[in-house]
Symmetry: D2
Subunit: 160 residues, 4 copies
């Protein structure tokens, strides 16, 4: 059983056709799992719906608390890419004995050309087999929380 914690990010951005802007509505995760014909047993919760640039310390503490309290020891967190590494660091400081995998998307899932479905398949898979620790799963790869950064110029996560 895997816990999925939704926090927003590009993953779940949608186009508000009345206002002509990107916004958040409900998460696309259930639809994505259905599309992927996923049979992984999951328990999903939407904790917040934020652009990760707007995430505060309090938001991160809330994420940590939910990781700690989760009876499931394997956790996937969907998260904006801009501060994913920072959140991973806070989680690593507060959560022990669990496998936590953060993932996100460069393109909203609602766009036809999103990387979201690929990343979700990847993150769910890593979460099932990696030992306890905090990881970022992006670009088909996984990184330990303290060995990764997002290259802002290319949009790619790379090892450090």
């Amino acid at each position: 059983m895997i816990r999925i914690i939704v926090t927003g990010g590009t993953f779940d951005k949608t186009y508000d056709e009345i206002r002509g802007v990107l916004s958040f509505e409900d998460t696309h995760l259930p639809e994505m799992l259905r599309l992927g014909r996923s049979c992984v047993e999951v328990r999903m919760q939407t904790l917040m719906m934020l652009d990760s640039l707007e995430m505060t310390d309090a938001d991160r503490e809330l994420i940590v608390r939910h990781c700690v309290l989760s009876p499931e020891t394997r956790i996937v967190i969907t998260h904006g890419t801009d501060t994913m590494v920072e959140t991973a660091r806070i989680i690593a400081a507060g959560v022990q004995g669990k496998t936590v995998v953060l993932t996100g998307a460069m393109i909203p899932y609602a766009f036809g050309s999103s990387d979201g479905l690929f990343n979700l398949g990847s993150a769910l898979s890593f979460a099932q087999v990696l030992p306890a620790g905090v990881y970022v799963a992006m670009n088909g790869q996984h990184f330990e929380w303290n060995r990764v950064r997002k290259n802002r110029a290319t949009g790619v996560f790379e090892g450090i």
Copy 2:
């Protein structure tokens, strides 16, 4: 470095608009990896383009041979779902010391609603972390070659 061996299957079926039938053209794998913004180093080869119901013993021997000869020890094989388990069994008999992950799709990638991108993200991830062995990665899960079957009624791979 991961070797990707393309053998066809629903994954790569495309719609031939002149003849009005499903057929094979080039593999969609490069486009899918680009869409997933994959940074996994891969070496890709198209070995055949077959509906897996038409795959012969000779075809399977060819797959085994390429697994054995591959300098990469981690291999992903895209394959039709109908006989994926049978091919996994043949590979398990002929290949040692390598991590081989077979995956496929229930819906062609060219269809908007395909599970292919999810499965590819999943298979590439499992292939990076699982120990040597032969596995099927479908529905977000992985199975050892001798512990899985495809449920023909539901289209889902399940453990046995």
Copy 3:
């Protein structure tokens, strides 16, 4: 008010993931009209769900009868492309005083890359403004029923 008569064709082909073949389920027309944010008042009926190569004289007579009986004088018919011109000829012989526009698709709507939505927007528009007559609307163009053929080699409808 426009009558839409659904007869099947590539337009409505869907992928049967259990059997791995193209087949028909329900028509995609309502979803397509919703996607196009269409505000055209329509009355829709699914008369048959056929590959147009399998359409019989009796099927065509049924289509004619429904055109004749339709209280709406503007009619759009979705139809397989292979025998669209033949059906148009039969309708022209049996229906007077109405604007009948046949359209279809080269690629199933369920495929991401379908021409169906473009063709539907086109056919609905032609049906609103063309004078009484029987027309084929494909490739963004419209043709009178006796001045068009499908080029089997290119898949394009062309004037004769």
Copy 4:
């Protein structure tokens, strides 16, 4: 022969994955015409790439001038929906003897769920058969320039 004048609008908005915002790059019109298998002879020009809320009087004069100078007497203009009616009014004041059809989209074409392809098929079709005049083609319908408004609450164009 139809002249297509591209001015931007939601139609052509794309997602800038590095900056995480909606922006403009090249127009999607050529790809859309290819997808629609359009055989309508067109001459296309990108005049500007603007959100229509940012369109100035000078921009509108430029559009008028290009309509006047166009040797083609049938013109389709892609345009943001917010001020489409206003631009239509300016064109009506400055252009005589030509059929000018403005269209746009509520959802960017790059989104999988766009109405753009439907609207393009519709606008191209209306442009081929309507008499000289200035029209808005949205929601599968066409309106004379002085008989339409955009309902901001519903996002739908309606007759007045």
